[in-house]
């Protein structure tokens, strides 16, 4: 069914695995499959919570920039209008953000690298648990871009504007400890326990969850 995602249900919890190891980078195919998963699969699944995680040591290294640049320039050559180009790409942002329309809690279980669009995806969940050695960040400005998939909108609303500005403009990665202090993530556990803790918290959150609890 999927090539770069893996979807399964265990004990009423839905698991979405980002599955293009080793870095689980987000290719054009990822965005297509993610769209399909969000619009077609979830609504037909009877689950009480969702967990998103990466196959292997890393969550994900984010979007494949070459893929994105290719899509944007082809589309621009075809339409000659930046608005048309971004209308199409904007769908990705809305699909990421639409995790917040779900009536069930969504947990990101983050081990290893979680940067760029992958970090933006995590920001769209309700609870981020990180393994100790996780690496977080929005490096886009260091290669001439800005975060383009909800990051510039969500980060200043989750944490202080000054912190969002520093994360986005410096492009530097940061530790889960730092992220916890900035109130961007909720929990740090030993790396090997990340998924297990995510299941524990998903169980707990699902008991009395209503989507009105979401504030961002």
């Amino acid at each position: 069914m999927f090539k770069v995602l893996k979807w399964y249900v265990k004990k009423d919890i839905g698991f979405l695995e980002l599955n293009s190891p080793p870095s689980n980078s987000m290719s054009s195919m990822f965005f297509e499959e993610f769209y399909w998963w969000r619009t077609e699969i979830i609504s037909k699944s009877d689950v009480k919570a969702l967990i998103i995680y990466g196959n292997g040591r890393h969550f994900s290294s984010g979007a494949v920039i070459g893929d994105l640049l290719g899509i944007i320039s082809r589309s621009y050559n075809q339409h000659g209008d930046i608005k048309k180009v971004s209308e199409f790409l904007n769908i990705n942002s809305h699909v990421f953000y639409s995790l917040k329309d779900l009536k069930i809690p969504v947990v990101a279980a983050v081990r290893g690298v979680c940067i760029g669009s992958a970090f933006e995806l995590a920001l769209c969940t309700d609870y981020i648990v990180c393994g100790e050695k996780a690496v977080l960040g929005l490096p886009e400005t260091s290669f001439g871009l800005i975060p383009g998939c909800t990051g510039t909108y969500l980060l200043p609303r989750i944490t202080r504007k000054s912190i969002a500005m520093e994360i986005i403009l410096s492009g530097s990665t940061f530790s889960p400890q730092q992220a916890l202090e900035w109130e961007i993530i909720q929990k740090i556990v030993p790396a090997k326990d990340t998924l297990e803790f995510a299941i524990h918290i998903a169980e707990k959150l699902s008991k009395n969850f209503t989507k009105e609890l979401r504030t961002v």
Partner: protein
């Protein structure tokens, strides 16, 4: 160096430095601590990548002095005009799409604190002190300070700070999130300059402006519009990279 009201402007590399300069406490005299037209002219500069606002000497600013206020209040319509002009200056600073850092030594009171709150980041020395003393004089902060501090910290600390005119030292201010960093050196300027360079070095002006605009939109726009513009800015920058690579 150029001067406008009580402010001096100079550039160090790509960074503009606005220095409040009026005696030991850098009293504001009037809400227009700089002429808006001058500030607009100085910041309308394609090379400029960031701004630091600081006070000359050992203090940031003690805000308006009681005597200045009494003078201003003699003419009611003039007072409200002046306050409106002060608000416009602070709005202009907050809306700048390059980072603005407040570099704070010593006292940062009243209108001084309101200026600092309009900046995008606050860096203070260990001896910095923060307060809204206005209610002691039967006034309230008048330049948008109450709104900005509520946006920054939520309602939790506003009553103590505004109604009880509590004073905070740098450590307290850092704990509640009023400031972002405490400088280890006596003058916060060194760290402020280091930080702003870290945010702007190796970044094109267009990347800086796009990022700052998108972050500002998160506060001022609804989600659908903010996300739409985020993607548009992203695509514009992406096309530049592509063109650059093909050349």
């Amino acid at each position: 160096m150029t001067k406008s009201n009580i402010s001096n402007w100079e550039k160090i590399g790509n960074i503009g430095i606005l220095t409040l300069s009026n005696g030991k406490e850098n009293y504001l005299i009037e809400p227009e601590f700089v002429k808006l037209t001058d500030l607009q002219k100085w910041t309308d500069d394609t090379e400029l990548k960031g701004v630091i606002i600081r006070g000359l000497g050992r203090n940031f600013s003690a805000g308006a002095s009681i005597n200045d206020l009494i003078n201003l209040a003699r003419d009611n319509s003039q007072l409200s005009q002046k306050i409106e002009a002060g608000k416009q200056i602070l709005d202009f600073i907050e809306d700048l799409n390059i980072p603005v850092v407040a570099s704070i030594n010593g006292v940062c009171f009243g209108g001084g604190l309101e200026i600092a709150l309009a900046c995008h980041m606050r860096i203070a020395s260990e001896n910095a002190l923060f307060a809204f003393p206005e209610t002691n004089l039967g006034l309230i902060p008048g330049l948008g300070g109450i709104y900005r501090i509520t946006q920054l910290l939520g309602n939790h600390y506003v009553y103590e700070l505004v109604l009880e005119a509590d004073m905070l030292n740098a450590t307290n201010a850092k704990e509640i999130g009023l400031i972002d960093y405490i400088s280890e050196t006596k003058d916060a300027f060194e760290l402020s300059h280091f930080k702003i360079k870290n945010l702007t070095n190796d970044r094109s002006k267009e990347v800086i402006c796009s990022a700052m605009q998108a972050i500002r939109n998160a506060e001022t726009m609804n989600r659908v519009d903010a996300l739409k513009i985020e993607t548009e800015l992203f695509c514009k920058l992406a096309l530049k990279i592509k063109i650059h690579q093909q050349e």
